[in-house]
Symmetry: C3
Subunit: 652 residues, 3 copies
């Protein structure tokens, strides 16, 4: 039974940590959850110390009571394995399972995530607690979902990691010769003559070997995935409920989320916007579109958001009234089958006591809790769309290898930021009112009318051939600078960039990369400006759509077109880039779900298999917006013709 | 016998390190000190290596000679225990007594302060040398003061520290359950099941536990205080002279100076301004007012200042002519019974060879030395005011817990800087011509007409009740944002901030903290602007004096008044803040000692028990200033009616 | 036989790493090298792992083949010892030979330079491989030059280093008392009572001892020189070919290059400009003039440059068309007997895959390779000037001690940057069209008409006497602020700065250093502005040429003149500084080789012993420039009267 079937609609609730409170508070929780129509509570994320107070000794009584209480109150459990935060007794008994930095600093407990994923003692302990929980609660009537671990994000460079890395390399490459060849160890005399000489990329004198660095990233993602699978399989031995883990989709990435998407029963993400206002809305769409894509289009689940939390580096900014509803609906519009928060009740102590919650320090008599209760009411009216999906005509290619490769040292330019480049591409499409999928370069792309390949630094032969086939089949393709420069072993493409099949598809040959100075802007022939990067492009079938106008590149192509295959060799200014994308959208006959919405008003459609569909219209602006026609709105349960500033509608 | 009785007036002199020089220089020193009327020399601060050339082997002959020579020359000794700088032989023999960083780096000798205060070997050695010095010199006729250690400022995270931290926790909390409850270890699964699992807050994965971090700060201050007491008590066993240590009052704080103030016979501080010009004068007043307050109003002692040294991060700026006198008099005005310098003669080698001195590298034929000699002459004329005190009608609450709590990670905003907030409050009062005390939140406040509570993040129930009683007794109170948010265990106040007794006193309830973005400024209803922080304030008896005008807080109170209890929920712009404070000063009937002085002209009064008083008038500006009436000035030994730019007068 | 005699002209080529490629590529290399007239290939720099695949087991077969192939193709070998990059097996077998940071982090292999120069196992291994190479190839007919190691630049703080440092100190100071006296250990109680207490300046609590820090720098340079000598001597036992090492002349300096200049048969440097455009040209001249000076005026060799590489911190900027030729000729103009590149063929993998090469990734059909081939053609026409030298009338004093002393902590101002100060002096002379030597302060200076002493913080008595004699003999001397402040033990000069002999020569006495605030600019009497630093200068025979106008220094001398000895006590603004230098050049009767060239057009002359000379005229501007008269140009092999933008001529 699917999660939403079990819940009878969209999921609504959040992390619930009753162990931080006492009975009077639990009673109030029951009352408040009922009033707010909460139907799912994430339990046990940080409960290892209570569940297993000493190694192998379990205490489930308290959790029994809470799960029964929740169930009796109509709230299902999203039961977590508590492995993201081993208790002090664990690290005290197994100091070798503590994480070690690249500089050799062994971190201690006193925070969370103080474990090495590759440490045998940790893996054993994680399987044991996951198994014990599954055995006890696997068929609990209130159990709706398994939540393995929490936000897998840590790295480690310890000796256990070294050993596991070597085993991974051995399995991938079969021979040491193949490793030497892949990493180019002939350079800088790095030739390995025995497996045990290979180390993780720990602190060293100058640049690290880029092949080693990339393979370490790949290995780590696989190692973490193996740890996840072990817990998942231990759970499945005792339970038929769906299993997932809450992935992070921020500006860093230690995991290949494409792979995780294939191993979870439902993709779940945590999302905290990195800026307030309209940027938060764009970032929400960016996160949601990725979550949906990692799950191959299936409905996914927003596992954590904040009621009043915008993390901007050195402070926590608040949200505005209405954001709780509008951000939640934005996630659902992009395919989430619910909206959960971290956490139900704001902690009075501990490291995250200033992280907002559904019941703030001020208590239920508060703006925040009132908005939460209103959200529960509205989500209750939207249950019919659970299970419906989102369709896109446009795909942006996305790949962990390129991200990892670009963040190594020795990169030709610090401005080659993979994540911000990806976010910019998504933003320009979002601004154009178009719903966007992400796709892996080797995915079947024929269902898309328009495909964009930004900063796809690493591109395999198979990926390049895939892109060529896509173009040959009539697809519109926009390739951006610094794409296809190296193969999957990070070996540079020789004879001109990018790789040969892509050169053919694009009708060009890049002779030189010419990175630009920080803040340098150079004029193009169409009156716009370029920055960050430039390339010496030779035409080989393509035509120049815009040229550089100064220096050695004067009159040399900046933007080229070869049939429906376009190449942009530099970072265009915002307006020029938006205009180019708009032109290609038009060429590819891609249109917004609702035409003529003003900027900042988002429309996304969810489709049911039976042909029903729901248009989410979200007014992220401070002006009212008039809809093309009056329609029934599930949010207000009325017919609406206009949305107020910040207003939302779900039109059936 | 008090220090000034023994000296027959104000103390004047500085650190004297004859071991860096030879006999011809000593002869010149004698002559120059006599001419400059030096009466106190700090000796032995860095002499451990010479006094105890091998473990337990003492060589006092050279120090005997210098103390006798100084005494014969009319210069008393401020004899230091040299424990701030263990010699190489010590750390070589006791490597476990070297300090270790939070990342596990064991620091080596080759600088100073390379010891761990909690290391048994270090404590034993420190007691031994202190005891030996006291035994030998305890009743030396030239001895006027004991100077334990030097600038206790270091931290350590080693295993000795871990053990001492656990012992401290055990004594404070009695049970591990109480520690778990206080630190909120239910969050992030940090529950401790054995004392030995507890560590200092060493390098860990993410945020540290804030309760652990705060208790570590408190523990460390207590540990250092215990080390000080051990030396003090060892000295008192052999000597009846007063004992102190030179505290640092800069922008960082590893010690709870309220506690130190109670354990020293006279509060002594080192003071180096952090900016040139008028800011140096304000910073001097800030330091002096704190020194006086830590000593409960007793006269204190400026143990170190520089003749030509303004430390501004990456360089040493010089002072201007006249600063030597004016800065010295400013300290005395705020309660110091003397003016000492680091150091007498500028070192020709070593780490501080560019630190200025009373005899610079250039020698006695120099501007600096001439100003020093002039200062000695003037201080000789001010001896009569030794022992007199300073009175204040205004108190600013000050508390180490709030400082420490705000500097931990996980703080809601990096702009919540305790020290700069405190300095700003002091500065606005200083600009208003008002003399300010600092007080602990639980001190008796009834003697003050006006009390300010800025950034008092941590506030105990007792402190809150104290403030309520103060208001009820008719006192004027100004509470600022981010005050009373947590109790002394760092547990958030629930049901609305601040804590209940303070909410009652202020007639408000704060529902949400809403930190502002970096450099964000928002308009208030009175035409002024706010920054850094805002709050959603609900009136519960108070009236709104100014409101926010934009966003969710539009029309919501920014500044409130409830009788004489005021609340400011944001950081007001400078002018608005000064105007508010001026209004409250007027309401509380607080006036400057001399009215109508222009900005930058400071007036502070010292009072003798017999009713005599001395008005210090210090013209920190570049314009002449006319006094309200002509008066006898002890500085010039004339009657003055006007002060030149930079001029000083002490009017009896 | 000299290198150029053996080559029959100027050296042309680059690093050649055939082990990264396969046979078809080698065949193409042969063809391309012939076409490009390459005559020298640097081989084996990173080949340790292949040459000695296991400890003591050598495999020379592959290198035999490559050397024979090169020789057959007319390309001589610059054979490197591969000791800059020990293979993984070495560090795996000798972990104690890995470098350790000051914080105690032991770096691992996986980059290059992962060794400690002082580790016995490393030194043994380095001698062994050098000796084996020399024995096998010492008289190979294709061998033209030995290239010991590569870019000695690393530091280490391990226990081997500690032991070697103590041995060095013992040899230098003979007694521990002398060390204590030199380092001023009386300050901060740092007195050493046993040699084994002395450590390298590892991480410590506050400032390090500056004497210890400086001596550590000196020791390290000597230690590295000893390591170089060991290899050189091992080679000389088997080979009569010249031996060198490629020195780095960038903005950091771990070696005393004056000493290295005396130990190599030909000075060789690597040079990568740190900025594009005209700054690259000035930086090239700066590097070239230093290289020539370190070799006492002998022709030197540009061992590495990039075809398309400008390193600017966080990115690699490209060069402009023509730079390959113009930069190469600029180096040759300043005395290089050739132009080599790193590297021949751009690596397809490894840490430097984005470092440009003579054959780029794009292949021979590329702008870069065409420019390389053109350069080979032109250098072939310039063979006649091999061995000729460059003459200068102006010397800038340069000294490692001052550099090292200024970069320690505790410096009076972060703006006292030795290297940038030196570069600025050179640039103002370069802009004036004057060729500049560098000289050590104790060198014989009588051959120079004008000597400049900028930022010569450390100055021995001998150096000061040398400068005084130079002035007395009629030389023109310009001394700048912060010069002669300490002696070679870093002991401050007492009685006024600088040291007495220099005070006499300059007719001044500096009473106080008065560092300026960041970005502070203060007006001088001549209408110009000063920054960074100021001094209180008293005239003692000199006259004031310009005075300060504000603050305590108002009317106090800023620039002074005493006969031909000038002193500048502050950093003058660019135009004022250029004007002062121009005036002194005129006074000293120093003129450019070609008068009246516009700014950015460089002229340097190489002289043969037989009186022939060649004028290099390099137009670094974007405007054409007319020559004073038509002349035969070896670059174009025509008579030229005008140079186009970016054009070059070598006029015989």
């Amino acid at each position: 039974m699917s999660l939403t079937n079990r819940l009878g609609g969209l999921a609504f609730g959040g992390d619930y940590n009753p162990e931080q409170w006492d009975e009077p508070v639990w009673k109030e929780d029951d009352e408040l959850m009922r009033r707010a129509k909460v139907n799912l509570a994430t339990v046990g994320v940080f409960s290892w110390a209570l569940l297993e107070p000493a190694e192998g000794v379990f205490d489930f009584a308290w959790l029994d009571a809470h799960l029964d209480r929740l169930h009796a109150n109509g709230v299902s459990a999203n039961l977590a394995t508590p492995t993201a935060s081993p208790p002090p007794w664990f690290t005290f008994a197994h100091p070798d399972a503590l994480p070690v930095t690249a500089e050799g600093v062994r971190l201690v407990h006193g925070s969370r995530d103080t474990y090495c994923t590759a440490a045998p003692a940790y893996r054993t302990a994680a399987r044991r607690i996951a198994s014990a929980l599954a055995e006890r609660y696997g068929d609990h009537p209130g159990l709706a979902l398994w939540h393995v671990h929490n936000e897998y994000t840590t790295l480690c460079w310890c000796d256990h990691v070294a050993e596991a890395f070597r085993a991974w390399l051995c399995e991938r490459y079969l021979s040491l010769d193949a490793v030497n060849e892949a990493w180019g160890t002939a350079f800088w005399s790095q030739h390995y003559t025995a497996w045990e000489q290979i180390l993780p990329p720990r602190a060293t004198q100058w640049h690290k070997n880029p092949g080693q660095a990339l393979d370490f990233r790949r290995f780590w993602s696989d190692e973490v995935l193996a740890a996840y699978r072990e817990q998942r399989d231990a759970i499945r031995a005792h339970s038929d409920r769906p299993v997932t883990t809450n992935l992070m989709v921020p500006g860093y990435q230690n995991l290949d989320l494409w792979q995780f998407g294939r191993e979870v029963d439902v993709v779940a993400i945590d999302h905290y916007p990195i800026a307030p206002g309209i940027d938060a809305a764009a970032d929400t769409a960016f996160g949601g579109d990725r979550a949906r894509s990692f799950g191959a289009g299936r409905p996914w689940l927003l596992m954590e958001q904040g009621t009043n939390t915008v993390y901007v580096g050195d402070r926590i900014l608040p949200k505005e009234p209405g954001d709780i509803l509008r951000h939640s609906l934005a996630h659902i519009a992009h395919g989430s089958d619910g909206a959960l928060f971290f956490q139900w009740r704001q902690s009075k102590a501990g490291a995250e006591q200033w992280h907002s919650a559904m019941v703030p320090h001020a208590g239920p008599d508060s703006r925040i809790h009132r908005e939460v209760t209103e959200l529960g009411e509205i989500l209750g009216r939207l249950g019919e769309l659970a299970g419906s999906t989102v369709r896109a005509d446009v795909a942006v290619l996305h790949d962990s290898d390129s991200w990892w490769a670009m963040t190594g040292d020795g990169s030709p330019s610090a401005d080659l930021n993979y994540h911000s480049t990806l976010g910019r591409v998504h933003r320009v499409l979002w601004d154009a009112g178009v719903t966007t999928d992400f796709a892996h370069p080797e995915d079947d792309l024929h269902g898309y009318r328009f495909v964009l390949a930004p900063a796809l630094f690493v591109l395999s032969d198979a990926g390049a051939a895939n892109l060529r086939r896509y173009v040959e089949a009539g697809g519109t393709l926009l390739v951006q600078y610094a794409t296809g420069v190296v193969d999957e072993r990070l070996h540079a493409r020789l004879g001109g960039y990018p790789t040969a099949e892509l050169r053919q598809a694009l009708g060009i040959r890049v002779e030189e990369h010419r990175p630009l100075a920080r803040d340098e802007r150079i004029p193009l022939s169409d009156g716009t400006f370029a920055s960050v990067w430039s390339e010496s492009v030779r035409l080989d079938g393509a035509e120049a759509v815009a040229t550089y106008t100064t220096g050695m590149l004067a009159d040399s192509p900046a933007v080229t077109r070869h049939g429906r295959a376009w190449y942009v060799s530099t970072r265009l200014d915002d307006a020029a880039y938006a205009a180019l994308v708009a032109r290609l959208l038009a060429d590819a006959d891609v249109t917004p779900d609702l035409p003529d919405l003003p900027p900042g008003v988002e429309c996304v459609t969810r489709h049911a298999p039976d042909g029903r569909h729901w248009r989410f219209v979200l007014n992220h602006t401070t002006e009212p917006v008039r809809l093309p026609e009056a329609a029934h709105d599930l949010v207000t349960a009325t017919t609406v013709r206009e949305l107020p500033p910040g207003g939302c509608a779900v039109l059936r």
